[in-house]
Structures are given as structure tokens and as C-alpha cells.
């Protein structure tokens, strides 16, 4: 009777191999959610440090008026709804080391141009 046991083991080994091959290719990337609060005239936090290879999911909400959240030098931009009306999401794939700037892209008052922050991507 040992034969069926061997066959079952082999069958399980093939199944395990198939499951491993079918796993998502991007699973090696770290994913990180960063919650940002926007209010006249600052983002909090205003500096975000991540390792190269991290996928950062910015979830931005406002404590007052509607703001914008824009990565300078890209077309990535979202409108952050007014307080109490939800949040905006923008994904940043940190595949290259360096310092990147985010800013408010919707004029929000006399101090609008102070609303900036940075993403530092480290090796």
C-alpha cells in the first residue's frame, strides 16, 4: 500500500509548483500607505522617506478647503476634496532614488505656495 502515498505526494509537489509559478510577479515590491493631511497652508507629514522599490499609496484628505496634490515634474495630480467629503489617492512608484517634490496644485489662499513637501527615495 505505500505506492498510492508516493503518488499523492508527487501530486502535491506539482500543485505547489503551480501555485508558486502563478503568484503575482510584483509581490517583491514593498507597498506602503501614507496618510497625508492637507490644511491651509501645509501638508502633514511634509516629508516622506521610503526605500527604492517601494510603492507608496498616498491617501490625502483635507481639514478645510479643497486642495490639490501634485508630484512636481509629472502629470500625476489629484484634487483633494473638502473636509468631510472623502480622500484622494495617488500612487508613487519609488523606482529611482532621489528627492521628489509634491505640492498643492489648487490655489487655496494667500499662503498657497507654502504647501509643499518632499518624497525622499533612498537606496
Amino acid at each position: 500500500m505505500p505506492r498510492p502515498v508516493r503518488i499523492r505526494r508527487r501530486w502535491f509537489a506539482w500543485a505547489a509548483l503551480l501555485v508558486a509559478l502563478a503568484a503575482p510577479q510584483g509581490s517583491s515590491q514593498d507597498r506602503r500607505v501614507v496618510r497625508v493631511l492637507a490644511e491651509r497652508f501645509a501638508f502633514s507629514p511634509s516629508q516622506v522617506k521610503v526605500k527604492r522599490g517601494t510603492v507608496v499609496e498616498f491617501k490625502v484628505r483635507s481639514d478645510d478647503t479643497s486642495h490639490g496634490f501634485h508630484i512636481v515634474g509629472s502629470n500625476g495630480s489629484v484634487i483633494v476634496p473638502k473636509r468631510g467629503r472623502g480622500e484622494a489617492t495617488l500612487i508613487f512608484e519609488a523606482d529611482t532614488a532621489g528627492t521628489y517634490t509634491f505640492e498643492c496644485s489648487k490655489l487655496c489662499g494667500a499662503g498657497h505656495s507654502f504647501m509643499r513637501g518632499s518624497i525622499i527615495v533612498e537606496e
Binding site: 491651509r40 467629503r85 508613487f92 490655489l107 494667500a110
Partner: protein, 434 residues
């Protein structure tokens, strides 16, 4: 329905009938299964409005509500971010602005309606790194060329040259970076119908003039501004209104000696902002034989957590050569303006937003202020006690929208004089920002 069909099939004696019914049901089931994926696709019709223009149930535009859960969030890849202005294009933003409409009822006087401020803001991005921002303000609704009839002011009109987060350049008509209110004066952003007395008599908001300088952020928690600006005019300093009339406001501003000003802010803890500001500049360009200068130091803090908030500010003004200015003005006009050597003021303002989770927000506050425009006089001159003032202001703000505020407050002011009284006042204000 299925139960009825089952009963018909089971009770029927005719096998042919049974076969027909089963085949019919099988065909229907097959048709439903085949059509299912097609029916599951979202319907697209020519009359459906574009997502950006769709209105939400409360009437706000889709732009101002949370992103649709069906549309994936935009993704930015670091390797594709432009490090220069290549590819960025010139873009003018929509006009925005704020308005401030007041009803003031001083004690024992007639009530006054005042459309206090009508402000329009403009912005234009020449590139990602070169930006323009302008702010044009009409005060008191009517301009006849004198302060009593209102003012048309160019409060901001500057170009930003963005180099890197820690170092950027700015030039044009600038807001002096002193205090809480001067750079942050939209009606929904502060409590009280009128701005705090300290931010009127000691820090002369809105304080703006021509200049240039640098600004930036560093260490993740610090922000700074450092400008060279047109100086104050010492001959316009008064005992009653402090520095307010001494601003040159970019109108042929004399810059024989420029003033230096700056501000450092700590924003590293959620909800907390701590700031320190200074101003220093020669003021004697209208009487070059005398030396006179104004120095100002200021500290402020704001903190809010949950329903509770508190803010406070302390400002101290030093006027070198005040005695010489008083002598000169007395000789030229016959009136001694009694300019002090030092002025100072402070306030503290606890507040509560008891329903912070609601869209229709409500806030209440109590503010104590103490301000003295003759805190220290030149030697041999006694201060006039009516300029040593204090105020209690209590009030509430209702926000039907985060950008619209209905304010009401009652202000009790006192001074140390036994000859001059103070007026309490009831104030109601409607302010909005767009």
C-alpha cells in the same frame, strides 16, 4: 415560481410534457448563462455625462468629492519624473478669492454694515518652476482715494523661482512673514468677525510691500522665509494705531535702506505649528539727518487635536529714535505724535469644535488680548493710559460648507485710562472663500 413549475412537472402524467418543460427550462437557463457576462457590462449611453462633470447628490461637483472607487488612482513612476522644465507647459489657474461682509454694532452707536473685503486671487504657472501669484483687494467697497472711503490694494503679486525644496527665490509684492494672520487671513481660517487687535495694532495686517527673498523647507519639519523689503515710514507711526499707517505698500516705496524680515516655522508634529518672526529696518528716510529704526520680534503657536484647539501670539516692537521723531514732527506739524519706544501685545485663544466629524461644522472660541501701543516711552515722557488696552472676545462660527462661515462675536474692550472709555461691540460676519 420555481416551486410551481416543480409541482407541475412532478404531478404531470404525460412524459412528453415533462420532457418539453425540462428542455424549455434548460434552454432558458443556457440563455441566461450566456447573456450574463454581457448584461454585467456597464451600460454606456450617449447621454451619460462625463465623470468630471457629474454632480453629487449634495450639489457639489465631482471634482470636490472623493475619487470614484471604480477609476484607478493615478500612478507616478519616479523614473519618469522630469527633473527640469522640459515638457512642462504654461498654465493659468482659475480665479479664486474671498469675501468678508460685516455688521458691527458698537455700544451706544448705530449699527454699521460694511462689505469689508472683496479679494480676488490669480495664479499662473509659466513652467513647473516659475510661478506667479497675485492678490487684489478692495476694502470697504468704495474707493475715493482716502482710507476712510476704502482702499484698492495690490497685496500680493510675485514670481516664484522654484529651485529645490530648501532654497527658492521670490520677488515682487510680498506679504511680510510675521505672525499668524498676515499670511493666513481668509475668513474661514480664523475665529472672530474682525482680526485680533494684536494683529491690527501691533502687527499691522495686512502688511505687504515690495521686496525679494528666499524661502524653503528643511529637515522635514521646518519652513522658513527671509526677505528684503521696503522699510516702514517712521513719520506715519502713531500712538493710536501703531505701525499700521507706516507701511509704504509698494507705492513708490523708498528703499534708501531696506528692511530685513523672516520667519521660521516648526510643523513637525501633527496639528502643531510653532512660529517665530522678526522685522528690522531703518525708517528715517523722510528725515535723513536722524537715525531711526523699527525692530519687531514675534512668537506664535497653533495646536488642534480632535475637538479642541488653541492659538496664541506675542509681538513686541522696538522703535529706536522715537524721541527724535517726536521732536521733528512736533516742529514740522505742531503736534507731538507721542510715538513710543516700545509697543507690545499678546493674545491667547482656546477654541472647541464640538462636532468635528460633521460636514456642517460649528466652532466656539474665547480670546483674551492685551496690547499697548505706548508700552515704553522715550525718557521723560509718560505713557497715555488709554493706549494700554485689553479685550475679551467670545463668539462662535458656523460652517455650512468648509469654505463658508457665519460668525458672531461680542467684544469687550478696556483701557487703563479713567478719562477715556472703551466701546464694547456686537459683530456679525459672513465670509466665504472659493
Amino acid at each position: 415560481m420555481f416551486r410551481t413549475i416543480k409541482l407541475i412537472v412532478l404531478k404531470s402524467d404525460d412524459n412528453r410534457m415533462k420532457t418539453l418543460i425540462v428542455r424549455a427550462l434548460g434552454s432558458v437557463a443556457l440563455a441566461v448563462l450566456g447573456a450574463g457576462p454581457l448584461l454585467a457590462q456597464p451600460a454606456v449611453t450617449a447621454s451619460a455625462p462625463p465623470a468630471e462633470e457629474a454632480a453629487t447628490p449634495d450639489g457639489s461637483s465631482a471634482e470636490e468629492t472623493a475619487q470614484s472607487e471604480q477609476s484607478p488612482p493615478p500612478t507616478v513612476r519616479a523614473s519618469q519624473v522630469r527633473r527640469d522644465d522640459t515638457g512642462s507647459s504654461s498654465q493659468t489657474g482659475p480665479i479664486s478669492g474671498y469675501m468678508d461682509f460685516h455688521l458691527n454694532k458698537p455700544e451706544n452707536e448705530d449699527p454699521l454694515l460694511d462689505f469689508h473685503r472683496f479679494v480676488l486671487l490669480f495664479n499662473h504657472g509659466f513652467t513647473d518652476r516659475l510661478r506667479f501669484i497675485g492678490e487684489l483687494e478692495l476694502e470697504h467697497a468704495l474707493v475715493e482715494g482716502l482710507e476712510e472711503s476704502g482702499e484698492l490694494e495690490l497685496e500680493q503679486a510675485y514670481l516664484d523661482f522654484r529651485l529645490k525644496p530648501a532654497l527658492n527665490l521670490r520677488a515682487g509684492m510680498l506679504l511680510t512673514p510675521v505672525g499668524i494672520i498676515n499670511e493666513r487671513h481668509e475668513p474661514p481660517s480664523f475665529y472672530g468677525v474682525e482680526r485680533p487687535f494684536v494683529d491690527t495694532f501691533i502687527v499691522p495686517t495686512t502688511w505687504f510691500d515690495a521686496g525679494a527673498g528666499i524661502y524653503g523647507t528643511f529637515g522635514g519639519s521646518w519652513q522658513y522665509r527671509a526677505y528684503l523689503m521696503a522699510p516702514l515710514d517712521a513719520t506715519k507711526i502713531t500712538a493710536d494705531e501703531g505701525l499700521a499707517e507706516a507701511r509704504q505698500k509698494g507705492f513708490l516705496s523708498n528703499v534708501r535702506n531696506v528692511a530685513a524680515t523672516g520667519r521660521l516655522e516648526y510643523v513637525g508634529y501633527p496639528g502643531l505649528t510653532l512660529g517665530a518672526s522678526f522685522w528690522s529696518g531703518e525708517t528715517s528716510f523722510n528725515f535723513p539727518r536722524e537715525d531711526s529704526s523699527v525692530g519687531l520680534i514675534e512668537f506664535d503657536g497653533r495646536y488642534h487635536k480632535g475637538a479642541l484647539g488653541i492659538r496664541g501670539e506675542y509681538a513686541h516692537v522696538f522703535i529706536d529714535g522715537a524721541d527724535a521723531i517726536n521732536d521733528l514732527l512736533q516742529r514740522s506739524s505742531g503736534i507731538n505724535p507721542n510715538i513710543a519706544e516700545q509697543m507690545r501685545g499678546f493674545y491667547v485663544e482656546p477654541s472647541v469644535r464640538p462636532l468635528p466629524g460633521l460636514k456642517y461644522d460649528l466652532g466656539a472660541f474665547l480670546r483674551y488680548e492685551n496690547f499697548d501701543t505706548q508700552f515704553r516711552m522715550p525718557s521723560g515722557v509718560l505713557p497715555l493710559k488709554q493706549f494700554d488696552r485689553s479685550a475679551w472676545v467670545v463668539g462662535a462660527s458656523y460652517y455650512p460648507d468648509p469654505d463658508v462661515v457665519l460668525k458672531i462675536d461680542y467684544s469687550v474692550t478696556r483701557n487703563r485710562s479713567t478719562l477715556f472709555g472703551s466701546l464694547d461691540s456686537l459683530n456679525v460676519g459672513l465670509g466665504w472663500w472659493f
